[in-house]
Subunit: 345 residues, 2 copies
DNA sequence: CTGTTAGCGCATTCAC
DNA sequence: GTGAATGCGCTAACAG
């Protein structure tokens, strides 16, 4: 474990350290003979370059900092995977910072002050490490403008927004529009919706898509078919019961996340309503368990991998001083499973 | 965004760069007056130290490399979270490498050659970045001896093993022993088990625990109560049916993962067997969905966070040249939910 | 094609 | 209590 450096190699191979550097980086042509000799010594001495020194000199770290609000929240790992996918192909490295928000502030992520210090620290550390840029991965889509200051370094937000910076999001409105269209094409005319909390951006956007589809297909807009949930299983259970107790219940429900959809499934079972024979259900998020439920539920898959990949690509453009490309917005895709069928009537 | 360095500060504050370094690191006493002046200039110029340069000089990066076989596999994020937990408290940084094994080689993780190149690359990169040590997070407990060579740098494996290095694992045998004891204490005497693939270490260990408990409690050892599954939902479904068709079916089943337990639940439903009235079930892993099933299933929670935390702690000892501590093995804990009840008879 | 040399930004010895 | 000087390991002019 002796630390062999470039100069050791140079000595052993009877060349200058510059030459070694050249063969190492291919920066310049080196006579084949010389090159082989150097390479052999490198092999023999088991030399490993020191990126730290290289970075200091070249002022390039080839490293980007990823700030994840919480790696244990379902959307984050897939996004990281997408980031890695792109990074691998472009010889970039990742320094990961995990804010551990879920554990530290629970559901109070709306209260920015509660975790500003963590975020600011993370940025400081990353800046000190001379990252070329940063990606910030939220655990809930919301505006985090002003949370951090990257001192001019490029940053891309994903799964959340910031007003003066680029952010990569999926198309919520389109997704729920597509879901309703799918139900319509299956023959459904009374389509209910169970939303998430209405102060959340995705809820609004998804509702817009629902409303737009209802309008375009000239379906009756009935307020009693619209239920406001809170993303939790119990609200799905409760609201579905309300829906099923209507004098004219819906034949299909668009539920804005898979967790509430579990509640919907339970309500249906309790009421003796068959899914999908009597009631069709579409969930949102493609949570892993949605495939384990009975029936397996049809759900809108979030393009998480693509969001990570795309964030990285856009960031790289910023780092290279190019324009943020007129990126197309990642689209959700409907996973057809067993919770949707044509209505009986 | 001018790059202000230590020498800028020195000039503005009329001191030498050495002095600035002293106040920055508290390496030596500096007259209060001078110190304040320096601090003020640092503030004004918004100076951020350059860790790269610092590391080059001090030969310490305070960074450890984490090699995750795949961040999208359920056990990994929690382990990373534990690592971060410890790292945060000790001012350590994490460079994350994601091998993306699941995506790249699917279930062929037994075939080491299929991904050796990725692993070796990861280690090279980390070594070049001068990490102080590494943690390797597996996606399935197995022996990965010889996969990588860290050139003498300390490494700790978790959720997998390597023969000549430290590895942090949870106590599989104890866990399943505890599960059986729990069932016994609830009054069960005919306790079946559905294992995972028997070439997997956890299956063996968990079976040992089952066997030990059966023996100690002097329960009849009946081979027909032992079913070998493959970790997949379908095997849980199929094997549970077999169990329920026995002339004298079990009153409880220990299922070695939650995914197969979903199959068990389905089989019971198809057979009209009530859970937990007619059949008690204990799963393994505490997968998120185990709380969404109907009934919510009682399961063995893996101490993932602790494994990450503990890996980091042990690694730090190695880095500091201390002995790997006689670490106690992280224990699983049984999460009591709704899938276990006393047997009817 | 190859060698010499000057730093990158900072910590640290050694003088004062 | 403070400063001047040295070098960490490497890259990239600049000279041959």
């Amino acid at each position: 474990m002796e630390k062999v450096g470039i100069k050791e190699i140079a000595a052993q191979a009877n060349v200058s350290i510059a030459t070694v550097s050249y063969v190492l980086n291919g920066t310049r042509n080196v006579r084949l003979n010389t090159k082989e000799r150097v390479l052999r010594v490198i092999e023999e001495l088991n030399y490993k370059p020191n990126d730290i020194a290289k970075s200091l000199k070249s002022k390039k770290t080839n490293t980007i900092g990823v700030i994840a609000e919480d790696v244990t929240v379902f959307n984050v790992p897939e996004i990281i995977d997408g980031i890695n996918d792109y990074a691998d192909r472009h010889d970039l490295h990742i320094v990961l910072t995990n804010l551990r928000l879920h554990r530290r502030v629970g559901h109070h992520y709306a209260d920015v002050e509660a975790y500003r210090k963590y975020a600011v620290n993370a940025v400081s550390d990353l800046l000190a490490k001379q990252v070329e840029g940063m990606i910030y991965i939220g655990i809930h889509p919301r505006d985090v403008t002003g949370l951090i200051d990257t001192q001019g370094k490029p940053i891309v937000y994903t799964y959340c927004y910031a007003q003066n910076d680029l952010s990569i999001q999926y198309n919520d409105e389109q997704a729920s529009y597509d879901a309703v269209r799918y139900l319509f094409n299956k023959g459904h005319r009374r389509i209910a919706v169970i939303t998430g909390l209405m102060d959340s951006i995705p809820s609004r956007l998804r509702f817009n898509g629902y409303y737009k589809a209802i309008t375009e297909y000239e379906l009756p807009f009935e307020p009693q078919l619209i239920k406001v949930g809170d993303w939790g299983l119990d609200s799905g259970l409760r609201l579905t019961k309300e829906l099923l107790e209507l004098s004219e219940p819906p034949t299909a429900i668009l539920v804005m996340n898979d967790v509430m959809a579990v509640g919907t499934l339970r309500a249906a079972r309790e009421k003796g309503v068959g899914v999908p024979e009597d009631l069709s259900i579409i969930g949102f998020d493609n949570r892993e368990f949605s495939d384990y439920l009975n029936p397996r539920i049809t759900t809108m898959a979030l393009p998480l991998h693509e969001m990570g990949y795309s964030s990285m690509r856009s960031l790289l453009r910023l780092v290279n001083g190019e324009d943020a490309d007129p990126e197309q917005v990642p689209q959700c895709v409907l996973l057809e499973r067993d919770s949707v069928a044509p209505p009986k009537r």
